[in-house]
């Protein structure tokens, strides 16, 4: 997974410092600040940074902050709807399930971006990605296949693409 990315020139220091600061902040939040414990926190943050740079090497893709906030709000609302919908189906005496698979052609090419999109869409109403078929299309399991699943996924993907900025 990381072998292909290792050929990239050494990780930009800025990214490493930024990530280390984030990890240290998280450590301080979960462990609380005590001067005597700080070396442990610094060590933990350093280890976490090393692991994150190995597993998720910095790429040219940046996030657009304004779109990210809009997308987060939209996504948050959708995931609430998704929970309500599944609860409604489960408690409906008629159990209105029309479950099945829908093939979705994902336009995102990079494996990382696809992974994030799949993770997001697994929390969207009625959809659950189950991997790819032989043609590289996503197989989405749906609670109700009569819904316009492909159209709403296309919309979600467009919104998601707007958050990414390729330098």
């Amino acid at each position: 997974m990381s072998t292909s990315s290792d050929s990239r020139a050494g990780p930009p220091v800025r990214v490493a410092v930024g990530r280390a600061a984030l990890f240290l902040a998280f450590w301080l939040m979960s462990a609380g600040y005590q001067p005597a414990d700080l070396p442990v926190g610094l060590l933990a943050a350093a280890a976490a940074t090393w692991a994150s740079l190995r597993l998720l090497p910095p790429t040219a893709t940046r996030l657009r902050l304004s779109s990210l906030i809009m997308f987060s709000l939209h996504f948050f609302r959708q995931s609430v709807i998704s929970g309500i919908e599944v609860a409604r189906i489960a408690c409906d005496p008629r159990l209105p399930l029309r479950a099945g698979f829908v093939v979705y052609r994902c336009r995102l090419r990079s494996a990382g971006e696809r992974g994030v999109f799949c993770a997001l869409s697994s929390l969207l109403p009625g959809t659950l990605p189950t991997g790819t078929n032989e043609d590289g299309d996503l197989l989405i399991h749906c609670l109700d296949v009569t819904r316009p699943v492909v159209a709403s996924l296309t919309e979600e993907e467009t919104l998601f693409t707007r958050v990414l900025r390729h330098d």
Binding site: M29, G83, E85, S122, L123
Partner: protein
């Protein structure tokens, strides 16, 4: 003021508990593993979100509140990743069933 906050907490936690129950009802009633996975991830996630929301005003410090949000974010991230992995494994085993 304090009563209003307490009422908010009670309402949010009751709603969260209701979603946990709906998730379990779904687990019992849904006919196959993949649909059960929908019930498990979506309903329970919302349940946890509502319970965290209800507990936030009861947190005794900002740090405590941040920790609650961190737990919720971690669970959200984990279940989004794991749900599709389990779904993929289920599909490979069942080949469509």
């Amino acid at each position: 003021m304090n009563t209003a906050i307490d009422i908010f907490t009670v309402v949010a936690i009751c709603a969260g508990a209701a979603f946990f129950m709906a998730g379990s009802v779904g687990l019992l009633r849904f006919p196959d593993s993949l649909t059960r996975l929908h019930a498990l991830t979506k309903a329970d996630n919302l349940g946890l979100g509502l319970i965290v929301l209800g507990l936030l005003p009861q947190a005794d410090s900002l740090l405590g509140g941040l920790k609650l949000v961190a737990v919720w974010l971690l669970v959200q991230l984990a279940s989004a990743t794991v749900a599709q992995l389990i779904a993929q494994a289920l599909r490979h085993r069942g080949r469509g069933t």
